[in-house]
């Protein structure tokens, strides 16, 4: 069930100069959250922000009543959230959207870039729990942008590319050598910049591998009522926040 709920900031853990984990705690229990679900976060005390901001759930701890987000500070709202002091109140509407399709006892490739790695801790945990083998491939410009490797390495094999070659293979994520053995994988999950996701989807489709992509369209409501966040699909315009954000790549007309 969707809910609007008040949380307090426990901490903002900055991972590098532009991204951080925002940890929130509630007094009451937290709803069930599936990998790929997101929240609409109200930015507190912000002078020129009107709408909520959609952010994927990075982690949840039902016992501690904590929920956390992996956020890249790219503008007003994401910067503001990263500057909140412990104790600040944050109101969120969640869980929103659909989720990645879980697979049992399969080989899964998870490809992320930018803030698009956010849903992949929960997804990795879920897939492992179902007996699937997880391989991560994250792309970034430099090693500084490759974060949380300890977290992801525990959940699966961790690979990465950097454009400057400072970590992992040098180049774009799509040129990683792993794609030579793409047939090894039963499914590809991706989230990140559109061009990256399109390229990954193309590789998967060419090899007849199911690919699920999570879109980050501009949103106003996050609950499927304003129809601002649409993306064209083979079945007409789909509403990303409620029919997505996760789509099977072959459904998308992008």
């Amino acid at each position: 069930m969707k809910r609007i709920q008040d949380f307090s900031v426990i901490d903002t853990l900055w991972l590098n100069s532009s991204s951080y984990i925002l940890i929130l705690k509630s007094e009451t229990s937290i709803e069930k959250i599936d990998p790929g679900n997101f929240a609409e976060i109200k930015i507190p005390d912000a002078a020129d922000i009107f709408l909520r901001r959609p952010i994927s759930v990075y982690d949840v701890d039902h016992e501690k009543k904590e929920i956390s987000f992996y956020i890249k500070a790219i503008g007003k709202g994401t910067s503001k959230l990263g500057s909140l002091l412990p104790g600040s109140k944050v109101n969120i509407v969640y869980p929103l959207g659909n989720s990645y399709t879980p697979v049992k006892n399969k080989n899964a490739l998870i490809v992320g870039g930018g803030s698009g790695i956010a849903p992949f801790k929960l997804l990795g945990e879920q897939l492992r729990g179902l007996g699937s083998k997880v391989t991560y491939l994250f792309g970034a410009r430099t090693s500084e942008e490759i974060v949380l490797t300890d977290v992801f390495s525990k959940l699966g094999k961790f690979n990465c590319t950097t454009e400057d070659g400072s970590l992992g293979e040098k180049g774009l994520v799509t040129s990683h050598s792993i794609f030579k053995n793409i047939k090894y994988f039963d499914i590809v999950y991706t989230c990140g910049p559109d061009p990256m996701m399109k390229a990954i989807a193309k590789i998967a489709e060419n090899n007849n591998i199911r690919c699920e992509a999570s879109l980050e369209n501009m949103m106003a409501c996050g609950i499927g009522v304003c129809l601002c966040c649409v993306t064209p699909t083979i079945r007409g315009n789909a509403v990303v926040c409620s029919e997505g954000p996760v789509f099977q790549s072959t459904d998308l007309k992008w």
Partner: protein, 304 residues
């Protein structure tokens, strides 16, 4: 106990709080957040005779204390609404108002005729003010003769409560309100969005695929309030007021300016519980101010 009931040309709403078309889906999207039975009414997403895909993405831009949208009436057509959606939502104990749109008068008539036959639907909102598509009829809403023509035509096709939704993108909204009153409207609702535009200085491109779009939210509240006041001083039919209402106080202001009922729009995106909260806040205001009937607020602005 405060009597919260209001009357839109004979149609009774349990309270003055309704939700604005295009900002509340078909209501069912909000059941996790509020009790829909608490609302005076729900104006559902704009309908056209045929299904429409709407405009291209991007359709939205945040602006200071507001937002622009260029949705363009994406909907599955009036038949789909009647056959597949309405049966799902009709059990709620609140008035459901379809919002009807067309690019030519015959389209409006066709939609109105179909809705006229639907039992349980007691009123429609005739949208002659959507700035985002030809089919939204802003062309009708910005000229008095055409507003009158479409209202007259729909009036003939529709027997129940007819609310005409006015455009704020005009020189003299009171004149148009008087026109549609004369043409048989039971009520006017205002305002629809103001035509606006946003540009990304970095890319030098518009932020909407359609270049211009409709501005809503608190930014437009002073303009909307002024228009309600002007229309209140010009017509006798009840007014459904809206434009940037975010809380009970805003709603009270619209009633003082002359609204019989109000619509909550963009605020639903910020707080999906806001419509129900506004019902409570209006009641609370009445209690604090010793007002026993909410209708006493209508047009109650003290100007001298």
């Amino acid at each position: 106990m405060v009597d919260l009931q209001v009357d839109i040309a004979g149609l009774k709403l349990k309270n003055p709080v309704t939700t604005a078309s295009g900002t509340f889906g078909f209501g069912e999207e909000f059941v996790d957040f509020i009790d829909l039975d608490k609302l005076g009414g729900i104006f559902v997403k704009g309908l056209t005779i045929k299904s429409r895909e709407g405009n291209d993405y991007p359709r939205m831009a945040e602006t200071p204390s507001g937002m622009l949208n260029a949705v363009g009436l994406q909907n599955k057509g009036v038949d789909y609404f009647i056959d597949s959606i309405y049966p799902r939502i009709k059990h709620w104990d609140t008035e459901i108002f379809p919002n009807i749109n067309g690019s030519v008068i015959d389209d409006y008539i066709a939609v109105a005729e179909k809705l006229n036959e639907v039992k349980g639907i007691n009123g429609i909102e005739l949208n002659i003010s959507c700035p985002n598509v030809k089919e939204g009829g802003m062309a009708f809403g910005v000229s008095c003769p055409s507003a009158i023509a479409v209202t007259k035509a729909v009036r003939k096709a529709y027997d129940k409560t007819l609310i005409v939704k006015l455009s704020p993108n005009v020189t003299d909204i009171a004149e148009i309100a008087k026109g549609v009153e004369g043409a048989g409207a039971d009520s006017v609702s205002l305002v629809n969005t103001l035509l606006g535009m946003a540009i990304d200085a970095k890319t030098k491109k518009p932020l909407l695929s359609t270049i211009t779009g409709g501005l809503s939210g608190p930014a437009i509240k002073p303009i909307a309030l002024r228009m309600v006041w002007q229309v209140y001083n010009a017509v006798k039919i009840p007014i459904v007021g809206m434009g940037g209402i975010m809380n009970g106080n805003d709603a009270i202001e619209f009633m003082l300016a002359g609204s019989t009922a109000i619509q909550v729009g963009t605020a639903n995106f910020i707080d999906p519980q806001v419509s129900e909260k506004i019902v409570d806040e209006i009641e609370q205001y009445c209690i604090s101010n010793g007002i026993s009937k909410v209708t006493d607020l209508i047009g109650g602005l003290i100007t001298e």
